[in-house]
Symmetry: C3
């Protein structure tokens, strides 16, 4: 994090967000959408929101231990999916991917313009105490275990449990 | 439904969700996103949420009578769109579609891991009394009539009416 | 606007929406999703909702001054992105784009069926006093300045400020 520009700098003094809550269902594995997930999450957490992120389907990529391509999964088919999904370092943008150049260009622009990169945003999420959850059902489908995820993942939840803890706040599906 | 794993099993005892509401604007026609719509909807309904789903644009696919490819629509152009959109049985995944293999692999993984498939989730939605609505404007654009949809569709609504009945709950755009 | 069909006609009498609020994070630059943003926004505003739209990433396309392809941006790389993103008149649909034919077909269908087109919806948004905001961080990344946007853009905001003004209403990520 250090000196990089975070979207909420010089706003912390303006906003009091105690007792406010933001919950995000992180479904997409696209680089730009995951960036949105963590930008919104860290932006809200930085001003005092309780932030809950529920990773499901392609979004589970963001919380995998192995961030490069890896054969994570219970059998050869889920392993293959795991390999193709890739992980945070190789995830494509939803538009203008150009065989992987898209995310590189974005990273370059973000560094150049002193904006926190996706990896930095994930680190910020951990530092800000954002609650990270993994979707039970998607883990079943993709053959993933809790041990496949980064240790910061707080719990494995079903949909209803997540919706329940999101009550009373703003909930987004990304 | 029967013995298959639903994301909310063994959670019903933990959560009391009376007077809670989940509303979903189902815009996407992608297989994985429609799965998310129905997983979230049935998961919430199973623990007592009032659930409202508003199908619009590509999402209207999910509630069409004819679930294979069919020429549904008022003129040749909307008929062509209807054919291309295809319906629930041929809808693609948003990533890794592989000319239709993606959804097949998903279905296989879901069956193998004893997770409810999309068709089963739609049946569950009906059984759980989820309120299904169709978007008036999108029907105009695509030349669709109420009779083109499954009889469980409760009403044809405008945007404002749907937002109004979503008030006081969580609303997601998928 | 004039005599075209808007999704909320003949609903204004049915719904009282004073003190209600709809906030949209407009992330996507796809033609169909931007249509959804403005359809939802104008639909809600027409019945009295306070409507706030926060344009970020690809969504910034919708509020650029130059609506055709243009080299807007701080350096050659962001200029190139600006050119590729194109602007409202050349933005693709998320499915069935057919090298640009998709949006044309949609426009045709919308005109033919007397539904407001995207440009008309943007005009309606201005007329209805919808609050348009641009995302500070995305502007940094893409090298955009406030002067690159239409004058109706009310302010440049960070994530936390937007979430804060969305409190107490429904918030959607599109």
């Amino acid at each position: 994090m250090k000196t990089r520009y975070l979207c909420t700098q010089n706003q912390t003094d303006k906003i009091m967000a105690e007792n406010k809550k933001l919950s995000i269902i992180a479904f997409s594995g696209d680089f730009d959408k995951l960036t949105a997930v963590f930008t919104l999450g860290t932006g809200a957490a930085a001003v005092g929101y309780e932030v809950n992120i529920f990773f499901t389907f392609w979004g589970l990529d963001a919380i995998k231990q192995k961030q490069g391509r890896s054969f994570t999964g219970g059998n050869w088919l889920t392993k293959l999916f795991g390999f193709m999904m890739g992980g945070l370092k190789v995830t494509p943008t939803s538009r203008f991917n150009f065989l992987g150049a898209g995310p590189k260009i974005f990273r370059y622009l973000m560094r150049k313009n002193n904006v926190a990169t996706l990896e930095e945003l994930v680190e910020a999420a951990k530092a800000l105490g954002i609650n990270l959850y993994a979707c039970e059902m998607a883990m079943h489908v993709l053959g993933l275990k809790k041990k496949d995820f980064i240790p910061e993942v707080k719990d494995v939840l079903g949909v209803a449990s997540f919706l329940n803890l999101s009550e009373g706040g703003q909930t987004l599906f990304i």
